[in-house]
């Protein structure tokens, strides 16, 4: 019963929402709006679960003195101090909370993503070393698109920005569209599996 009742709720709600999509009656719409308020009231507690999970992982590392446990202390200090700053002094511009965002969180996340520029360059080198016709096409398309984004491309020849636009608007669009159709079919199949009770991994 610990699994059957939750499963029955998902299946019942799932079919009600299928009906809601096809029958936009007032009763159906009211039910949907009411359900939305419930979901919004449940959602903040899911974030609390995430915070507790992070806290438990690092607390265990500290209590067991695993290698590099000292860094877990840094994570917990960062977590609690930032949250405390937000609750204590507010989240407006000029508060310690926003100082932490501007001078700690934002520079680090931007740098973390910019690191990928180096690793992507090394991946490109490896792809080029594959020396197959397909890898060459991929790299040529990438180089044209990259040059098309900067003024250097237009300085070399006016064909580069035009070819870049064509690549993005024609073959790239075809690839994205086909992948989108595949993703859509996959989403539909997965949703159906959940709806029919075949997929139950979310129950844990």
């Amino acid at each position: 019963m610990k699994r059957q009742i939750p499963l029955a709720i998902v299946i019942t709600l799932g079919f009600l929402f299928v009906i809601h999509t096809f029958v936009p009656h007032k009763i159906s719409q009211d039910f949907y709006d009411w359900f939305q308020t419930w979901i919004k009231a449940i959602s903040p507690f899911a974030v609390f679960l995430g915070v507790m999970s992070l806290f438990n992982v690092h607390r265990t590392k500290i209590s067991r003195r695993v290698p590099n446990w000292q860094y877990s202390v840094i994570t917990l200090i960062g977590l609690f101090f930032t949250a405390f700053a937000g609750f204590m002094w507010g989240t407006q511009e000029g508060t310690p909370y926003m100082w932490l965002f501007t001078n700690v969180q934002m520079p680090m996340s931007a740098t973390m993503f910019s690191l990928l520029a180096f690793y992507i360059a090394s991946a490109a080198y490896k792809a080029f070393r594959a020396r197959s016709a397909e890898a060459t096409v991929l790299l040529v398309a990438a180089i044209i698109v990259m040059l098309g984004q900067v003024s250097l491309g237009a300085a070399i020849t006016k064909w580069i920005p035009e070819t870049s636009r064509w690549i993005l608007n024609v073959p790239n669009l075809a690839a994205k569209r086909a992948i989108m159709i595949g993703v859509g079919l996959g989403m539909t199949a997965t949703s159906l599996k959940i709806l029919l009770g075949i997929e139950r991994t979310y129950l844990g």
Partner: protein, 199 residues
């Protein structure tokens, strides 16, 4: 003075992350762990103000809409996930969130499949739209594995691979440029805002 200290902190953390390019080291580990903590800590007050206050606190305590206590209690059940004996109760808030998946069936079929198919087919009035159509169909055929990719069918699916390679190349190029622009931003910060070498 305030700006100098702020820039120094940001520069120290930026250089700590860049130090990973040499190898994994204590400065990088420090910055990485701090980023995880600060990011999560940043999200808590934002969610409190934007979700908890308008959808839980105001309806219950100001509008006296006491029915909202039920979903709030359901939300509290999430925390029982950490209990050995009562963790099964955490399934209830999950089931309410998963219930919405019913809308996913017709909506994903409509937006991701039917609309995309219609856009691929209409109007076929110039070489580019014809190429887009051929590209979409050949890529879809490539992912159809119930028929061996041999003979004429193999040649058609091979054309799909070429379209995909151009698409991946374009995405790759676009991603590289986005990362490079972030890198330029960080270098501008270090050389301009922090060291004052560029104006």
């Amino acid at each position: 003075m305030y700006e100098t200290i702020s820039n120094f902190v940001a520069a120290f953390l930026t250089l700590s992350i860049f130090s990973f390019l040499y190898k994994d080291n204590p400065f990088y580990k420090f910055a990485e762990h701090l980023l995880v903590g600060v990011s999560m800590g940043y999200a808590i007050p934002v969610l409190y103000e934007n979700v908890f206050i308008p959808y839980v606190y105001i309806p219950i305590f100001l509008n006296h809409d006491f029915i909202i206590i039920i979903p709030s209690l359901l939300g509290v059940l999430y925390i029982l996930r950490f209990s050995k004996n009562l963790s099964w109760l955490a399934r209830y808030p999950i089931t309410f969130t998963m219930g919405i998946v019913g809308m996913g069936v017709p909506l994903s079929l409509h937006t991701s499949v039917l609309v995309q198919m219609r856009s691929a087919m209409l109007p076929l009035d110039n070489i580019n739209t014809i190429l887009i159509f051929i590209g979409t169909v050949t890529i879809l055929l490539y992912f159809y594995f119930s028929k061996a990719h041999r003979g004429i069918y193999g040649k058609v699916t091979n054309m799909g691979i070429w379209f995909m390679m151009i698409g991946f190349g374009a995405s790759f190029g676009y991603t590289v440029m986005a990362r490079i622009s972030l890198l330029i931003g960080r270098i501008q910060f270090l050389l301009g805002d922090w060291l004052g070498l560029i104006k």
